[in-house]
């Protein structure tokens, strides 16, 4: 049984001037120990998807899913008390901004211990020991001393490590990391990603990594789901997706990144013209068609997933035209 099964997840926001369809029919599965990366730009719905899993959506949002099952537990039907028992315990989240996700008024030790004692009845000494143990594991020097420090006394990279330690306190089965390295310096980014990969293997956790950075995704993910305008437009294992992308958006995205050694300096990058549509009001057809050089009149109709290969599918009806042009 897969650890996480998501089928036809939708998230809508009721706004003053209509309904915003932030997530439209997203489906994926996640096995134990796997890393799934959800890639997309702003407005693609990737963050909303992760918040929907944990049921941390804002009040105006409505979540629906045909199937939303975590380790046999139906998340869609679970009451808030059940969700609270799961959050931080079996499903943990790491956010982008370590500055704002650690409470500045409490010490690191306080927050780590609270993360554990909320879900486990252990003595504060035992909790303390585990906190020190995890801080060491995430590579923070002088761990015992750090427990009495406040978040503002640590650098961004260290704070993010603390966040990771906090997420691990209860030994979760699933970690959702939402842009965990975007706010960090480039040299620290590699170290944090390394750490996440090591911990994942050691603790046998599954990870959902949300990112806009294709480089990060390529190096870290086992499988990838590319999101555009609230939908998954292509999903595959990491290697086939990057070596042979099929959806025009995925291709466009990979073409527009400068890669030292591959893209010629000074030559214009392959940019995707236009910008993403606003998702207010009823949506029909392929959301990418206005920006796609292969769009045809049929693209205004229903666009089902096409199985390119086992485990690799793309939501596009013009795949043949793309291959012919290549």
């Amino acid at each position: 049984m897969a650890l996480l099964e998501v089928d036809n997840l939708t998230v809508d926001f009721t706004l003053g001037d209509g309904v915003l369809h932030a997530v439209r029919g997203v489906s994926f599965t996640l096995e134990r120990g796997e890393t799934l990366a959800i890639v997309g730009e702003s407005g693609s719905g990737k963050s909303m998807t992760s918040l929907a899993l944990m049921n941390l959506l804002p009040k105006r949002a409505t979540r629906r899913a045909d199937r939303l099952v975590f380790d046999g537990i139906d998340l869609a039907a679970a009451p808030e008390t059940r969700m609270r028992a799961l959050r931080g315990n079996r499903m943990a989240m790491i956010f982008q901004e370590p500055m704002t996700s650690l409470n500045p008024s409490y010490t690191i030790g306080n927050q780590l211990i609270e993360a554990l004692r909320t879900h486990r009845s252990v003595s504060s000494d035992e909790a303390r020991d585990r906190a020190v143990q995890l801080l060491e594991k995430v590579g923070i020097p002088a761990a015992a001393r750090r427990l009495s420090q406040y978040p503002h006394q640590l650098s961004g990279g260290l704070r993010q490590r603390v966040m990771i330690a906090m997420a691990l306190m209860c030994g979760p089965d699933l970690i959702i990391a939402d842009e965990p390295t975007t706010a960090l310096d480039v040299t620290i980014q590699a170290q944090i990603l390394h750490l996440l990969a090591d911990l994942k293997t050691e603790f046998g956790m599954a990870m959902i990594l949300i990112s806009h950075d294709l480089g990060v995704v390529a190096r870290v993910a086992d499988k990838v789901a590319v999101m555009y305008a609230g939908e998954v437009v292509e999903s595959a294992a990491s290697r086939p997706l990057f070596k042979a992308p099929r959806h025009p958006y995925t291709r466009g995205l990979l073409n527009c990144i400068p890669v030292p050694g591959r893209t010629a300096p000074g030559v214009p990058l392959g940019a995707i013209p236009g910008q993403a549509p606003t998702l207010i009001g009823p949506q029909r057809g392929c959301a990418f068609r206005d920006r796609c050089s292969f769009s045809a009149p049929e693209c205004a109709g229903d666009i089902p997933f096409v199985a390119v290969e086992p485990g690799h599918r793309a939501r596009c009806i013009r795949l043949g035209a793309l291959e012919a042009a290549a």
């Binding site: 003053g16 001037d17 940019a271 013209p273 236009g274 910008q275 206005d290 920006r291």
Partner: protein, 298 residues
């Protein structure tokens, strides 16, 4: 320009003013407060036309007539008469003029002083900020009523006196709020861009800083208006503010306190009017803050 031409794909954004209007009309506090405030202002402006009697006309033969809903009342004097036989309804209506006048003029004076101080402290920082903050702290240490007492003793009390004293004293909240709003705005890249373009400092303060702290400023202005109106009522009640025979609501309450137990309407009516006006102003202030806040988020 093929790679850089997005024009054809822009989606039409909702218009700013239409959205703002819609939000305003949907905010119950703003609608209620706004309607009430507009009504009071309208009454005050139309006072000479709608007041049934001259508010200064004494009629000692008809003193302390109760309002129309009591046994001895009549529609001749719908809200009764005061101890000198003056029609209460007319005095109430003209009293609205005084309260609104004081509220508006005081806010204009104190708002100007406070905004100048706050913006300078927030924008220039350093020593300027230190000195101005010291000035604000000093002002906060002054008890307003005692200063009014002292100035009344020195120059006598009057309507103009109240406006000047309150105007020169009630600028502290303006200064504090505009200072922190200015600090926030001054950190923005668009202020740096304006400096890099070569804009002079006065131009930056007027066209980059001020329009962007306007929201906070308007909210403080409405709250300070209510504050000034209440303070004037208090000062007039103590005899330090508006002098008789002007129909200030505070003065009406003061003049009526001897008759409080026999003729409670003499205090009740102007008090209710005060509460209504201050409530309306506060609702409008809160409503404006709520309605304009989300717009600031880009």
């Amino acid at each position: 320009m093929s790679a850089t031409a997005p024009a054809a794909f822009d989606t039409a954004p909702p218009r700013r003013r239409a959205a703002l209007l819609r939000r305003s009309l949907g905010h119950s506090g703003l609608v209620i407060g706004g309607t009430l405030l507009v009504a009071i202002v309208a009454i005050a402006l139309a006072a000479p036309l709608i007041a049934p009697h001259d508010p200064y006309n004494q009629d000692l033969a008809h003193r302390l007539i109760p309002p129309v809903w009591q046994a001895k009342g009549s529609w001749e004097h719908a809200l009764g008469t005061d101890k000198l036989g003056r029609d209460y309804l007319s005095r109430l209506i003209f009293g609205a003029r005084i309260s609104l006048l004081i509220g508006t003029l005081t806010v204009l004076i104190s708002g100007t002083i406070g905004t100048v101080i706050g913006v300078c402290a927030g924008y220039f920082g350093g020593k300027v900020d230190a000195v101005l903050s010291y000035v604000v702290t000093t002002r906060l240490a002054l008890p307003v009523v005692l200063v009014a007492l002292a100035s009344a003793a020195l120059v006598g009390s009057s309507l103009e006196g109240v406006i000047v004293v309150l105007g020169l004293l009630l600028w502290d909240r303006f200064a504090v709020v505009t200072r922190s709003a200015t600090q926030q705005v001054a950190r923005s890249d668009y202020v740096a861009a304006a400096q890099a373009i070569g804009c002079s400092t006065p131009r930056i303060l007027a066209s980059e800083i001020l329009p962007n702290i306007l929201n906070a400023l308007i909210v403080v202005a409405t709250l300070e208006m209510a504050h000034a109106i209440l303070l004037e009522a208090a000062l007039s009640f103590l005899g330090l503010g508006v002098q008789p025979p002007l129909p200030s609501w505070g003065l009406m309450i003061s003049e009526g306190k001897q008759y409080m137990f026999f003729s409670p309407w003499v205090i009740g009516i102007p008090a209710t009017a005060l509460v209504a006006l201050v409530l309306a102003i506060n609702l409008v202030g809160d409503g404006l803050r709520d309605v304009t806040a989300p717009e600031n988020r880009g």
